[in-house]
C-alpha cells in the first residue's frame, strides 16, 4: 500500500472549526451492525459524552411516489404495500382507505375486523422486533432471542391468515381478499395463540423490568420530556412514552367498536419507550381477540359494488406500529393516481431522538436512536438533485411543485 493510500487528511477536520468544535466526531454508518438500514449518524463527542448528533438518510430514497404517479389505484396498492417490510399492512390499508374514503366505498363489517386484526398482529410483531433489536443494541442477546421466540407464533398466524409472512396483501378496495376470511378453526387458533402470547409477554416484561443491569442502561437515559416530544412532533409509542396521550386509533372509525386502553407513560426515557411497546403488545392482543370474535365465520368480506372514477385529493391518517402514517392522493378521470404523498412516523421521531441523545454516553446514544424504532427506507420520501451543486433553501411552494 502506498503512502498516498494511507493519506486520510481529506477526511479529517481542518481550519477554525477543528479548533472550535468538540473533541472528536464519530461517524457511524451507512454500513453498520447496529443499523438495520442505511443511515449515517455523526456523533460529536467529548470523552464518551455525546454533545451533538446529526442523522442522514439520503441513500435510502427509492422514488416510490414517482413510480405511483399515473398508475391505476389497484395496481398502485401492490407498490404501496412494499414501502415498508415491517408495516406493509399499514401502508396498504392506508392506501386503500384513502381511495375508499374518496369514492365512498362501503366496507363489510367482517372485512373491517380482519383489517384491524391484521394491523394489530403487525403491531405485535413489529414491537417484538423492536424489543429484540433494542436488546441486541443493548448487548443483551438472550432477551433479544426471547423476543424473537415470542414473535414467531404471531408470524405463523399472519401466514395462516394471508399465506405470507411479509407482504400479506390483505386489504383490497372494498374489503379484504376472500381467502383471508376467518374460519372457525382459524379463529380458535388465533385466540389460543393470543392467550399464550399474553402469558409469555407478561413474564418477559416482569423479568425485563426486574433486570438491574438492563435497567441501569435504560433508566434515565435518552430522556425526552413531553415538551421536547411536542416541539419535535414525536409520534406513536415514542410520543406516548413521553406522556402524550394521542393515538390515531381513537379517531379511526374502524376501532370504534373495540374495547381497548391507550398506553401512556410519563418517564420519556429509553426504558419507558421499550415498556410502552411491550404493553402495547398486550393491548393489541386484546384488540385482536375482539376482532377475531367479530370476523369469525362471516364470509361477507368484500364489497364489489363500486366504480373507479375521479376523486378529489384525500388525506388519510392511521396508527401504524411506529406512529402516525399519512397517505394522500387524488384520482384522475381514469382512476389513475396523481400526486401521491406518504409521510411515515420515523421522520419526526428521528428528529426527536437526534436531540434527546445529547448528553448521553456514546453507546447509550445508539440505544436511544434504536428506541425510537427507526424505519428508514419507508421514511425517506424525497431527494433533491442539483446537478450544478448549488446550495439553496426550498420553500413550501418549491416542495409542492416537486422540487423543480
Amino acid at each position: 500500500m502506498s503512502a498516498e493510500d494511507n493519506d486520510y487528511s481529506e477526511f479529517m477536520g481542518k481550519g477554525k472549526a477543528r479548533e472550535r468544535t468538540f473533541e472528536t466526531e464519530i461517524p457511524i454508518g451507512f454500513v453498520h451492525s447496529a443499523l438495520l438500514e442505511p443511515y449515517r449518524t455523526r456523533y460529536f463527542v467529548e470523552d464518551e459524552i455525546v454533545k451533538d448528533c446529526e442523522i442522514e438518510m439520503d441513500p435510502a430514497y427509492r422514488g416510490i411516489e414517482r413510480i405511483l404517479e399515473g398508475m391505476p389505484v389497484d395496481r398502485a396498492n401492490i407498490i404501496t404495500e412494499r414501502i415498508c417490510g415491517i408495516c406493509s399492512n399499514g401502508h396498504l390499508w392506508n392506501s386503500v382507505r384513502t381511495a375508499e374514503a374518496g369514492l365512498n366505498i362501503e366496507i363489510p363489517k367482517a372485512a373491517q375486523a380482519i383489517r384491524v386484526l391484521a394491523e394489530e398482529l403487525e403491531r405485535i410483531h413489529s414491537h417484538l422486533i423492536f424489543i429484540a433489536h433494542a436488546c441486541e443494541v443493548l448487548g443483551h442477546e438472550t432477551f433479544a432471542y426471547r423476543s424473537f421466540l415470542m414473535r414467531e407464533p404471531v408470524m405463523q398466524i399472519l401466514y395462516m391468515i394471508s399465506g405470507n409472512r411479509v407482504n400479506y396483501a390483505i386489504p383490497v378496495l372494498g374489503g379484504v381478499r376472500p381467502r383471508t376470511q376467518i374460519a372457525q378453526w382459524k379463529g380458535k387458533a388465533i385466540l389460543e395463540a393470543m392467550d399464550k402470547l399474553d402469558a409469555n409477554l407478561k413474564k418477559f416484561i416482569e423479568r425485563f423490568l426486574a433486570d438491574i443491569m438492563v435497567m441501569s442502561r435504560l433508566k434515565g437515559v435518552g430522556v425526552c420530556d413531553k415538551r421536547t416530544a411536542i416541539k419535535y412532533h414525536a409520534v406513536g409509542p415514542t410520543a406516548r412514552a413521553s406522556g402524550i396521550d394521542f393515538d390515531w386509533r381513537i379517531k379511526m372509525p374502524e376501532y370504534k367498536d373495540f374495547d381497548w386502553d391507550m398506553v401512556v407513560l410519563d418517564e420519556g426515557d429509553n426504558a419507558a419507550r421499550v415498556k410502552t411497546r411491550a404493553l402495547e403488545c398486550l393491548v393489541s392482543a386484546r384488540i385482536a381477540r375482539q376482532a377475531v370474535e367479530k370476523a369469525m365465520g362471516d364470509s361477507d368480506v368484500l364489497n364489489r359494488d363500486w366504480q373507479l372514477g375521479s376523486m378529489a385529493i384525500q388525506h388519510s391518517y392511521i396508527e401504524v406500529p411506529r406512529g402516525e402514517l399519512y397517505h394522500s392522493y387524488r384520482l384522475d378521470d381514469q382512476g389513475r393516481i396523481r400526486h401521491y404523498i406518504v409521510r411515515t412516523p420515523t421522520v419526526t421521531n428521528l428528529a426527536t431522538m437526534e436531540v434527546v441523545c445529547v448528553g448521553d454516553q456514546l453507546t447509550d446514544a445508539v440505544v436511544t436512536l434504536a428506541t425510537c424504532d427507526p424505519c428508514l427506507t419507508c421514511c425517506n420520501r424525497f431527494v433533491v438533485i442539483d446537478e450544478r451543486g448549488r446550495e439553496r433553501s426550498m420553500t413550501l411552494q418549491d416542495l409542492r411543485r416537486g422540487g423543480s
Binding site: 477554525k16 472549526a17 449515517r40 443493548l138 432471542y145 441501569s216 442502561r217 446550495e391
Partner: protein
Amino acid sequence: MDILDAETLAGILVASFGVPMLAISYSVLLPGIVRKIQARIQQRIGPGILTPGFFAILKFMFKHKPVISSPMPTLYKWSPSLGIAAMYFVVIFLTPQWAGILGLGSLVAIIGLLKIEEFVYVVMGYLSSSILSVRLPYPDTAKGSKWSDAHRSTLENWGSVRMWKMIVFSSLPLYVAMFIPVAFAGSISIADIVNSQAGGNCFIFRVPGAIGAAVYFLGYVAILNEYPFSIGKAKADLVEGPMLELASSWRASYYLMRALVMFAVSSIFVTLFFGVPLDPLNGYRIIVHLVLVLVLPALGAVLSAFSPILTFRQVVPVSVVATVVGFFTFVISMGVGG
C-alpha cells in the same frame, strides 16, 4: 536448579513445547463450549463445539488476503501474533519446570505478559482505519451540517481509547485478585503458591479465596472483553473496534490469541486458587487442571448471556467495588496465610 541435568532439561523442553501445543489444542475448544452454553440459554442449538475455535481459524487461514487499511499494516497484522507469543510464555511460566529459572515462574512475569496482550488492542486500534466510519466515501459533511469541519475519529481509534480506559479500570480486579493467593502463600513464586495448597488445602475453599475467585472472575471477563465488559469493541457503536480491519489469516491469528487468552487466564486461576499446576509430567494433575480450566469459561458464558454491555457509567463503579473488595480480601489473606 541445575538445568544441565538431563531429566530437568527434558522436563523444560516438554514444558516449553509440549505444554503450549496442548494449550493450543485445548484452547480451540473453549470458544465453542462458551458459544454452546450461551446458545442453550437462548434456546438455540448453537454452533458445533469445534466451529468457532477450530474451523473458524482453519477457514480464515485460507481466505483471500485483502489489503489492510492501516498506516502501519505490518505491525497491525502481526499484533495478534504478539499476543499469542505473550500467552505462550504465560503458559510455560505456569509449569513447575520453569519455576526456578531466572525467577520467571512468578506472578510478576505473568502479569507483565498479560499487560502485553491488553496493550495489543490499543496498538491495533490506533493502526486501523476501516471503511465503516471516517473513510466511507460519502459527502456527508457537505451541506446543512452545523459541524462540517470537526476532527473525526475512526471507530477503531475510539475503540483504542476505550481499551486504554479498560486497562486502567476493568483489569485491575484481576491483578488485585491474583495477589490474594500471594498474601496467603507469602510468596510471588508460582511454585510456592502451589506448594502452600498441597494436600487438598485449596485456597478457593477458604472465605478469602472464594471472594478472591469471584473478583478474579470479573477480571477474567473484563480482560477477554466479553459481555458485559465489551465496551472496547461494543457492537452497538464500534462494531469490532480495533479488530475491524483484521481479515483472512490475520483474523485467524486474532481468534487463536483470544482462545489462548481464555485458556491462559483460566489456567492461572486453577494454579493460584486450586493449587493444581499445569504439570506436563504428571498425568493426573494435568487432567484435573484441564477440567478445572473449563470453570471460568463456563461461568463467563452464563454471565455474558444474561448481561448487556456496560458503559463506563457502570464499568467504573463495578471495577472500583471489585478492586476494593479484592484489596480488603488481600489484607485479610495476609492474616490467614502461612
